[in-house]
């Protein structure tokens, strides 16, 4: 993976890819305002053929707006875009695709109810006298996917396949429509390590064919693993651009944040041994058939238990069982030594549990309600309809948490759907903190949010334990878990397979536990 990184700043020669000096896509002076808010301010970007170009920035830096203005989903106020020297100005996603500029979004924009073949060829199916030639379409679909080393039943509905496969189908569709520029908007956010490798292989293959790829991601490791060059946006402006050799990790982070980030993210804080701390919740033989195999789990006051494992290994499932969102069919639970029944979220709430789910958009926030309403939601639910919070109380709570968690913009009356991902996540945290829970369950608290908010949320997790709260955190970022967990439970194939405590908590140890037989994993840390 080191070879392509030797590019010279001036010309992208020496790379294995056919990256020529002439730019494939050139943006200059892209600007866009929404009312008084400037989302993009004279941003420029140059993409060469065969190049994988990372587009980075914190939440709200303008990445999404840049992509939308490029592809015509949103009309730009000013700016010129040249594709191979020819000015193009698409006014819709369809026109952008026709011009050779295709986007694959994080939430794959395909029709899940249609077959894979229909998704690949929707709108351009081979027809004879107006009738779609189903057999021919399937044959072509198989041929297209074979190019991506994907051998699946193309006549099955897309929804029967994993997110990774849907991504590849979306990319295949774009490439097959003679895309010369491919924009991947956080494609890896919901993929596990293996799926990411598969996707990267596809990206390298496309780059080798001379397609220019703009890759938006929040995973810095991935940037250095696959990209040739980086463009960083901050507050709607171009903050920096260069090859990855010119932008080592620290420079990149500084460029993204505009300030120094405490280099704490990979260092473990030495902490007191908490194995003697008072028990809050003890689960024995807890599990559900076909969901998670029975496990034992002890949550102590002031301690963080991390759940690590691959996507789909049973991490989220464990969290849902503990909260009662999914009902266990075996085992027993005690709270402060007294037996309790975890039968549902309502009971969990009364017991003083809080749960921030992984799927912010579908399970967490109520997008049309304001930040204030979202924050007081759980507290109100806990108090019951008969004891409504007065408006003054609501305002007080909302203001306090907006200040405490630095939610931006600090406007409690703004619909939460308009906030960036990181700020939505903070508001969700605030919702549970407002109930003053004794146990807080966080599922991927840092997923899809930027580096700055990342660090803030990690710092917040530490503060919460210091205050005596018990935490159960699911995370796929091992470096992150290592920094704050007092105990790490490793899951594999829907079962708890290992428990690490104290000094044993290291990234290699977790990886070894995930891989069990101690062989070196594909993902060398």
């Amino acid at each position: 993976m080191a070879a392509p990184h030797a590019d010279q700043p001036s010309a992208a020669a020496g790379s294995a890819r056919p990256a020529s000096g002439a730019p494939l896509l050139e943006l200059t002076g892209f600007s866009k305002s929404f009312g008084p808010f400037t989302a993009l301010d004279a941003v420029s970007l140059t993409l060469r053929a065969g190049e994988i170009h990372a587009l980075l920035g914190e939440n709200g830096a303008g990445k999404s707006t840049l992509i939308k203005t490029m592809t015509g989903v949103v009309q730009r106020d000013a700016g010129v875009m040249r594709l191979e020297g020819v000015p193009v100005m698409p006014r819709s996603a369809g026109e952008a695709t026709a011009a050779g500029l295709a986007t694959v979004y994080q939430e794959v924009n395909l029709a899940p109810n249609l077959t894979v073949a229909q998704n690949l060829f929707l709108g351009r199916q081979p027809t004879f006298l107006g009738i779609v030639r189903e057999r021919e379409m399937r044959r072509r679909a198989r041929a297209v996917l074979a190019d991506f080393d994907l051998d699946i039943d193309v006549s099955a509905p897309l929804e029967s396949y994993s997110v990774a496969i849907r991504h590849i189908v979306a990319i295949a569709r774009a490439v097959d429509q003679s895309a010369r520029v491919l924009i991947l908007d956080e494609p890896t956010a919901s993929l596990d390590a293996h799926e990411v490798e598969v996707l990267f292989a596809v990206m390298r293959k496309l780059a080798a064919r001379g397609i220019g790829i703009i890759f938006v991601t929040h995973f810095l490791d991935q940037v250095y693993a696959i990209c040739d060059r980086i463009t960083v946006l901050r507050n709607g402006r171009l903050a920096g651009t260069g090859t990855i050799a010119e932008m080592p990790r620290m420079t990149l982070v500084r460029t993204m944040l505009g300030r120094e980030l405490a280099e704490a993210t990979a260092e473990r804080h030495e902490r007191a041994d908490l194995s003697a701390a008072p028990e809050l919740v003890r689960l024995e033989g807890f599990g559900k058939a076909g969901y998670v195999a029975p496990f034992d789990l002890t949550l102590r006051r002031g301690a963080v238990v991390g759940l690590a494992g691959l996507l789909g290994s049973g991490r989220t499932e464990t969290a849902r069982l503990v909260f009662g969102a999914e009902r266990a069919d075996s085992g027993s639970a005690t709270l402060d030594g007294r037996p309790v029944a975890l039968t549902g979220p309502r009971e969990a709430l009364t017991l003083g549990f809080g749960y921030c789910p992984e799927e912010r958009k579908t399970e967490g926030i109520v997008a049309d309600l304001t930040v204030r309403e979202n924050i007081v939601l759980a507290l109100q639910a806990r108090r019951g309809v008969l004891k409504p919070l007065s408006r003054a109380e609501q305002d007080e709570i909302a203001k306090r948490f907006i200040r405490l968690l630095d939610i931006r913009p600090p406007d409690p009356e703004r619909p939460i759907g308009l906030l960036s991902g990181g700020n939505q996540q903070k508001a969700l945290l605030a919702r549970w903190l407002a109930t003053q829970p004794r146990l807080l369950i966080l599922d991927e608290p840092t997923r899809g949010i930027d580096v700055g908010a990342h660090a803030e949320i990690i710092a917040l997790i530490r503060t919460l334990c210091a205050e005596g709260m018990a935490l159960l955190v699911v995370s796929s970022e091992l470096e992150e878990i290592v920094t704050y967990a007092d105990e790490v439970i490793v899951l594999r194939d829907r079962a708890h397979v290992a428990s690490l405590t104290g000094a044993a908590i290291t990234v290699p140890a977790i990886l070894a536990a995930i891989a069990e037989d101690g062989e070196a994993t594909a993902n060398a840390a």
Binding site: V73, S92, A93, G94, T97, A98, T103, Y105, N109, L110, A111, P112, N113, L114, T115, Q118, N119, L122, G123, Q125, T127, G130, I131, V132, E134, I152, D153, S155, A156, P157, E159, S160, Y161, S162, R173, D192, A193, H194, E195, G290, L310, L311, G312, S313, R492, D493, R494, I514, A515, E516, D517, E519, T521, A522, N523
Partner: protein
């Protein structure tokens, strides 16, 4: 669950509807000795022709994630318009048919355009369309006007005679043709795939470069044109025009579509299921006619119960279809874990 079996599972609701129809027919045949004849079947087609035609249009609308409440009123408008055009204004019947279908097409296109360009919910737009069409029908005339044109006598006499005194009438032929054409259009053309795509996700369909606006307008145009055609068939069937005809037919059509296994939230369904759904409703009515002692309102009650039953069944099959999918995810995760370990 393999992906192949999940494509089979989409056929479950339609298969269930068909089984219910066959069972119902069996019960009727066992109860009434004369029931199991070609003649009864042909009458079933003739009597429900207008409903079948409208329901095909409704299938497109519902699969695309919409609803069309205006079709019953459009039928009423169509019959009174035809009666006046042919009897009072002296327009030749075929010219009147053509004119009517053009009016209906424009009406449907206008509703589709309103839904798309003002981003209005189809429920409200077509509700307005329902009042508009019914109101206009009353404005034309409040009387029931018999249609005496030669063509009408001709067309209602014209039928393919089958054994046992059974007759495949013009309305029945029209319905079968519409059902067949609807199946081709929905299942075999690009337009049909776009209809499903819209029902799956409007936003995605737009981002895939499908012209969402054009497709929406076409869907509602199709529905209104079929409602107009249904009005023509209805006027043939009754040889008259009356502004109150077709009241509540939109609801019967929606019921037929849902009983036929189409998901009311869009994205899934088949024209054939709708056809069987129409036949089931016709079968209930026929049973009551044969019995002779039951109030005809029992038909509504039976339809209501069936609707409940089918919606419950749909939820059940959806639930069953989703459960194994979760297990399938685990399987692939296990495979991935194995891949990462090696």
């Amino acid at each position: 669950m393999t992906p192949a079996s999940s494509s089979v599972s989409r056929l479950v609701p339609v298969a269930a509807t068909t089984v219910v129809f066959l069972l119902g027919f069996l019960i009727c045949a066992l109860t009434f000795p004369n029931f199991a004849s070609l003649r009864v079947v042909m009458n079933l087609l003739t009597d429900n022709a207008f409903l079948g035609i409208v329901a095909v249009g409704m299938t497109f609308v519902i699969i695309s994630g919409g609803i069309d409440l205006s079709v019953g009123s459009v039928i009423g408008f169509s019959t009174i318009f035809l009666a006046l055009a042919i009897e009072r204004w002296g327009i030749p019947p075929f010219a009147a048919f053509a004119l009517l279908l053009v009016i209906c097409a424009l009406f449907g296109a206008a509703m589709g355009a309103a839904i798309e360009f003002f981003a209005l919910p189809p429920f409200i737009v077509t509700l307005a369309g329902m009042f508009l069409a019914r109101g206009t029908a009353f404005l034309l005339s409040t009387d029931s006007i018999p249609i005496t044109a030669d063509l009408y006598g001709h067309l209602s006499d014209h039928a393919i005679r089958l054994s046992g005194g059974a007759r495949l009438t013009v309305p029945a032929m029209a319905m079968l043709a519409v059902v067949a054409a609807g199946m081709v259009l929905l299942h075999l053309t690009r337009f049909g795939a776009n209809v499903y795509a819209l029902g799956g996700s409007r936003q995605s369909a737009g981002l895939m470069g499908i012209s969402v606006g054009r497709t929406t307008v076409l869907i509602y145009t199709l529905s209104s044109v079929l409602a107009g055609l249904s009005g023509i068939v209805f006027s043939l069937y009754t040889s008259s025009g009356y502004s109150l005809s077709g009241v509540g037919v939109e609801l019967d059509a929606i019921a037929a579509v849902v009983i036929g296994g189409t998901l009311l939230s869009g994205g899934y369904g088949f024209v054939f299921g709708t056809f069987v759904g129409v036949l089931i409703q016709g079968l209930i009515q026929t049973y009551i006619n044969f019995d002779g002692t039951l109030s005809s309102w029992w038909a509504k009650i039976a339809t209501g119960l069936l609707l409940f039953g089918f919606i419950g069944f749909q939820q059940f099959t959806l639930h069953m279809a989703r459960r194994p999918r979760r297990r399938a995810t685990t399987g692939s995760a296990a495979a991935n874990a194995a891949g990462a370990a090696s």
